[in-house]
Symmetry: C2
Subunit: 142 residues, 2 copies
């Protein structure tokens, strides 16, 4: 599947971060994890897969690699602006599951300033309507 | 990776529709496609993979299988409420790519009522702040 140059932006977005590991790495990066071993331990991911996913997310410009030690050479990974812009998607996936796949002792989302639980909703900033509350058609602007 | 019962709802959501094909099938379903051959042609997907993904999305309750012909037996697939609730996520992925992976003649999103281009944004309905504009912490409610 080659989605990178697909006319549909949904496909192009998925080309950048379209598998579960990528989403979960971005989630962990948003929570302050930066180092290979931190991601590996938190995700329980095989090192070879983590190496590939970090390289792909860096290549796609969602993570930026920064050297934090010269001896021995060690890099860390931090979210770029494009990577931070992916956060609402990830939070919306979590909000969907809290509604449709809830379980006891689930992790939830809290506002870092107020401490209140966040209730994410996607709206169309043009009409003010909730996305999904009325039909959306996909098309090329003429 | 077993995400189905993960404490984090982001992981649980990804367990239901965490690969690109699943997202694209849901996209197509939101645009009115219902039949196996419609999905297959529009996605250019191998029939074996499409069969597996449709079965998984049905099993997860995002699609509902309905028999539309008895002779020969033929089923179609329509979004459930949980499947429709996934739409904002998919539209947000598209909005991300329109901003960060734009290209000429890209498909865009239009409001079915006004015909105006939709500009999706995720907000916290509690604080009114855009998701991503301030820190969000993940935790278990105490």
């Amino acid at each position: 599947m080659t989605l990178t140059d697909d006319p549909c932006p949904i496909a192009r977005g998925l080309a950048c971060a379209g598998d579960s590991w990528s989403f979960l790495i971005l989630r962990d990066a948003s929570q302050g994890l930066t180092r290979f071993d931190q991601f590996r331990k938190n995700l329980g991911i095989a090192p070879t897969i983590l190496t590939r996913r970090l390289a792909a997310l860096t290549e796609e410009g969602l993570l930026e690699k920064r050297r934090y030690s010269e001896h021995p050479p060690r890099d860390e990974y931090v979210l770029t602006e494009a990577g931070r812009a992916f956060m609402p998607i990830i939070v919306m996936i979590g909000a969907w599951a809290l509604r449709h796949r809830d379980r006891q002792a689930s992790v939830r989302f809290f506002d870092g300033e107020t401490g209140l639980e966040v209730k994410p909703v996607a709206i169309d900033s043009v009409s003010g309507a909730a996305i999904g509350s009325r039909p959306i058609t996909l098309g090329v602007r003429t």
